[in-house]
């Protein structure tokens, strides 16, 4: 199963890079849907014994990360007339370079982190750190509120992958709680994006300056 896990993790990394080079929001959402599917496969590959725990986790991840969240995001772009990230502070080339730096740093750091012995898939920790940092790259370089939601989702997915290193130990309820947490977070963000759009007639998060104290 090791090989299978590694392939899935590699694909997760690829989807992250895909987001970094994509400007169209609908394409980003499609990529995130694919990432959700990939993440749902990870519990199967994580080496834990297949049982109710893993089955529920896989089903829950699939439903929320590949089903509900993309639907909310698509609803948000349908309501708000924004199709593209127009003014990223760095272009696709810069984004890829930053992403590569993030991956390098993540693999460097991962060897120095004390982690639980006997991980079935070696790549879980570095990939989770890389996803986290690439999520931050999206969060810090893009302006549209919906792009920020996608960056946040990437960041959350990184944390989710990290959580899988402990999949055998964490009670199911906690995992489901985390999933639900992300769902609620994105749901609220979707509403906020909608509200920003309605109030400011724009989705540009730079215009939130008007809220400074």
């Amino acid at each position: 199963m090791d090989r299978f896990g590694d392939v899935v993790l590699l694909l997760v990394l690829m989807t992250n890079f895909a987001v970094l080079v994509t400007g169209r929001l609908s394409a980003c959402i499609r990529i995130m849907t694919a990432q959700g599917v990939l993440l749902a496969m990870l519990p199967l590959a994580s080496g834990a014994r297949f049982g109710v725990h893993i089955a529920v986790l896989t089903a829950g991840t699939l439903a929320i990360k590949a089903g509900v969240l993309p639907r909310i995001l698509r609803w948000a772009i349908r309501e708000a007339p924004v199709r593209r990230e127009l003014a990223p502070s760095i272009g696709p080339i810069g984004g890829v370079l930053l992403g590569l730096a993030a991956v390098g740093l993540a693999f460097g750091v991962a060897t120095r982190l004390p982690h639980a012995a006997g991980l079935a898939v070696e790549g879980l920790v570095p990939v989770s750190l890389a996803s986290l940092m690439m999520g931050f790259v999206v969060l810090t370089t893009r302006q549209k509120a919906l792009s920020l939601v996608i960056g946040y989702l990437m960041l959350e997915n990184g944390i989710y992958v990290f959580g899988l290193t402990l999949a055998g130990d964490i009670p199911l309820l906690v995992e489901l709680g985390v999933l639900l947490d992300v769902f609620v977070g994105v749901f609220i963000m979707g509403l906020v994006v909608f509200q920003i759009q309605r109030e400011l007639e724009s989705q540009d998060s730079r215009r939130l300056t008007e809220l400074r104290d």
């Binding site: 740093l105 940092m133 969060l139 893009r142 920020l148």
Partner: protein, 660 residues
Amino acid sequence: MSLILAAVAVWLLGAVGWALARRRRDLAAAIGAGAAVVGAALGACAAGSALSGREAQVLSAAWPVPFAGLGLRLDALAAAFLLPLCLIGALCAILAVPTRHHADGGGAGAGFAAFNALLASMATVVLAANLVLLLAAWEVMTFASYALVVTDHDSRAVREAGYQYLIFSQLAAGALLLLFLVLAAATGTWELAAVPVAHARTAVAGLFVLMVIGFGTKAAVVPFHVWLPAAHAAAPAHVSALMSGVMITMGFYGLARFLPLLGPPSPGVAFTLIGLGAAGALGAVLLALLQRDVKRVLAYSTVENAGLITLAMGAGLLGQWAGAPELAVLGWSAALFHIWSHSLAKSLLFGGVGAFAHEARSRDLEGWGGLLARWPVVGGLTVVGALAIAAVPGLSGFVGEWLIFRALFAGALVLHGVARAAMVVGIAVLAMTAAVTLAGQARLIGIGLLGTPRREPPAGAFRPPARATTAPLAALAGSCLLIAWFPAPLVAALAGALATLVPGGAPTLVVDAVRPLGSLALVLTGVVALVAVLRGALAGRGVPRATETWGCGYAGAPGRTQYSASSLAEPVRQAFAPLLRTRVERLGPVGYWPAEASWRSRTLDRTVTGVYRPAFGGVSALLQRLRDLQEPRVTTYLRYVVLALLVVLALLFLPIVVRP
């Protein structure tokens, strides 16, 4: 032990009981004051039996709070602080009752809730045998007293005073937290150790600094006294009385309990305490003389007395270090005795002056005058308090200061070198302080209560005082007289507390030293009583005749032409001008027909202008610079988050991180 537990329980019940009677002020006041008095009576019984008992009473119970245990210990030292707490606490609660209908009086239900919580927390501070419990009780004490200080929170000055008090208290609590952590790490237990642990020299210095900041702030040790004048001026009278009389002694309790834990006394600790005490006493007494606000006069007088107590403690420690048992016993006895006498006299004075200030609707001494004639009973009792604070022979303050003098003289005789010089300087400072205190109290009484009114008090003021005002003041004045008449029994009763501070210290020396003072006080009281009786008898003979007093040839001079409080203080102010740096603005009089003239002086506390204002200003400027980091873009903040994350990750590459 069960008695004191019952006392704390009654106080806590009183703290919540007011909720039953929020709308009915009479009932709320009755519940609040009743709980305070009943609890105090129970506590006084417990403290009285513990004061004479040889064995400490211990209670320890498991408690589901992390690190904390419900460890209580009532020994002689705790009892020595608990007894004044109960006595003054009960009397101050009664003093609060007549103010229950005033918004600013603190006698309503919520005020009593905080008051009872304050009593319970102070008792717990004294009893706690567990550091976490002690810290928790200490914080409750701070917050309860803060709530009492801001009773009149409609006023901006009151809110600012409360805020200042809170800031200083929290700085002190931070020092205490650090102190307790270090002590717990050294002993390996959160129990309050009874025996000292060996610390390195530098650790002793650090711990001592933390103690002075932590406990000294509450005890009004200079330069951590800054909150006190503002808070005392802002608080209602009975609260100032309790805070000044009892709450500052909690700081001294902390010092007395924790200083022995540093191990054998070191000269550095002793000299620091002597220096802080002497500087504080002299500085504060001068400032007390120059205040216009009557309650600030008393507050600075409290700082002065705190300085004297600190000085006495330092002398006691110096005696222990130098192997001079006489000095050690005299110094610590003087500190304990002066804590008692100051507590009683200052509560009396705050109660009396506060009652006058409330009736006159003004705390400005320059506007008072002739108040003794309006309220002779309260005024007479206030004069007793002022005389006791001024250490006039025949009253309690004299015995305390006499003991400090005795200690310093004993030290000057047996010590050598720097230690002897410190004792001599202490004697000089004490003499000067005593003289200026007398001037300050003469100013307060002479300007405020005697003479003729400078300003008419508002209509309806100075109705005959309630019995709930006069009775507690009379009880306090009686206590001041009582311990002046019989100082020897009190010193003997404090022997147990002394023994915990000075191992093997016997109070026979001190008993012998104060016995003649008791006789002196009895004789003086007798003479005063005799003169009063004779005067009454003789004055009753003739027919009273109201006439003008001699007015330097001016007939019908108005009240405003009297000596003012500032003019009375002016000679002393000029003598100490280089120390005080008073700002004086004067205008005229010019020419042969001067039209207009004014004179105004303002003396600020130099620890405020010299230390705290620049320090807080610097911190504020630094923080202002941090504000520049605040940028109005979400992505900027996210970049800060990334930076923080990268810094944390970079730490992994440093060799300092321990890896499994």
